[in-house]
Amino acid sequence: MTQFKLNAEELEQAFQNRIDDEQKIEPKDWMPEAYRKNLIRQMSQHAHSEVIGMQPEGNWISRAPTLRRKMILLAKVQDEGGHGLYLYSATETLGITREELVEALQNGTAKYASIFNYPSLTWADIGTIGWLVDGAAIVNQISLQRTSYGPYARAMVRICKEESFHQRQGFESLVVLANGSAEQKAMAQDALNRWWWPSLMMFGPHDAESAHSAQSMKWKIKRKSNDELRQAFVDQTIPQIEFLGLKVPDDDLKWNEERGHYDFGAIDWDEFLRVVSGKGMCNKQRVEHHKKVHDDGAWVREAMRAYKVKTLDRNRMKEAS
């Protein structure tokens, strides 16, 4: 274990100075227990989101309309699994095991992005998820490339490099639908209607109501507030919706010349809380599926372990003889 020469107060001061100075915190550095806990919560929640997020899209791999779309979707979902891995590994540098993290997901103590508790009903949902949901995630992840914890920041850099393909393929797929038959266009509009508000909710509660925000900003775990990120997402997405010729499902949406931003309507936070607290359409299904796949794979892990033990025994016998 690392030995530190300063007392608790000096350590805390040195830690904050380092953060104020825009230096990264690395795994073997001293850090306040609350910083570690806060990071484990946020990073594991992020990791769980990548993994659970594979389900609504995986739902359409076998039913993609062309071979090209199928290959693209397969590649995207594969990336998301990889993102989960980067983030779990980075979280493990904080002194928690993968087993504990997975257990917390499965017993409901850890959360994941609640948008994945909505069902993917039509093919247009798949394009919309890539375009809007990954689009919203990217806005958040770009700002997290500057987060204060080194392994998290580096994981974000790797992830952001891969994400832009996710958003573009989704948008491209929607361009096709929006310029297709009347039915295709209606399907695209219906998907936008269902995914628009949950996408805005992805940025979390308003700054005034956000439980973890102030401390996270001081520690530079978060670099931009929920409301700033949400506004950036709205501003960049509206022109894309206009290009598609679709309608934003928000009558209060309008350009505010004075602010230089779009104003948008009130978010239904009751709905958000309902889904976060487990009463969304797919919460139960998502976690049940995760458990099932995890349990179904247990024999593989057991077989690998048994093989390892056998090999060790054999080598020991060889050495002894």
Binding site: E26, K28, I72, D79, R154, F165, Q167, R168, F171, P239
Partner: protein, 96 residues
């Protein structure tokens, strides 16, 4: 007895600056990890090249072989759709 043949080889990785990954810089012989760390400090960071050093026994590193390149990397070559540049954006769409 010639002991030098048995002195294990260590690979040295240096983090040049907080926030960056450790990068392989070279290797050295040492009796144990502690000693390898001190040697590494003396050999590889005499001009403040780093803020943190990792040493790993060379024997503990498992690596892919160049001859295996085909089975490792060839399947990636026909998947241009994994790159963002594969998707042509309309001219007036920015920020994607």
């Amino acid at each position: 007895m010639n002991t030098s043949v048995n002195t294990p080889l260590y690979e040295v990785f240096v983090r040049s600056k907080r926030g960056l990954d450790h990068k392989h810089v070279g290797s050295l012989h040492a009796e144990d990890a502690e000693q390898a760390l001190e040697y590494a400090r003396d050999c590889y960071t005499r001009r403040s090249e780093g803020v943190s050093i990792w040493v790993v026994k060379s024997g503990d590193i498992t690596c892919s072989q160049e001859e295996d390149a085909a089975s490792f990397y060839d399947p990636m070559e026909d998947k241009p759709y994994r790159h963002a540049t594969h998707y042509v954006l309309p001219e007036n769409i920015k920020n994607m």
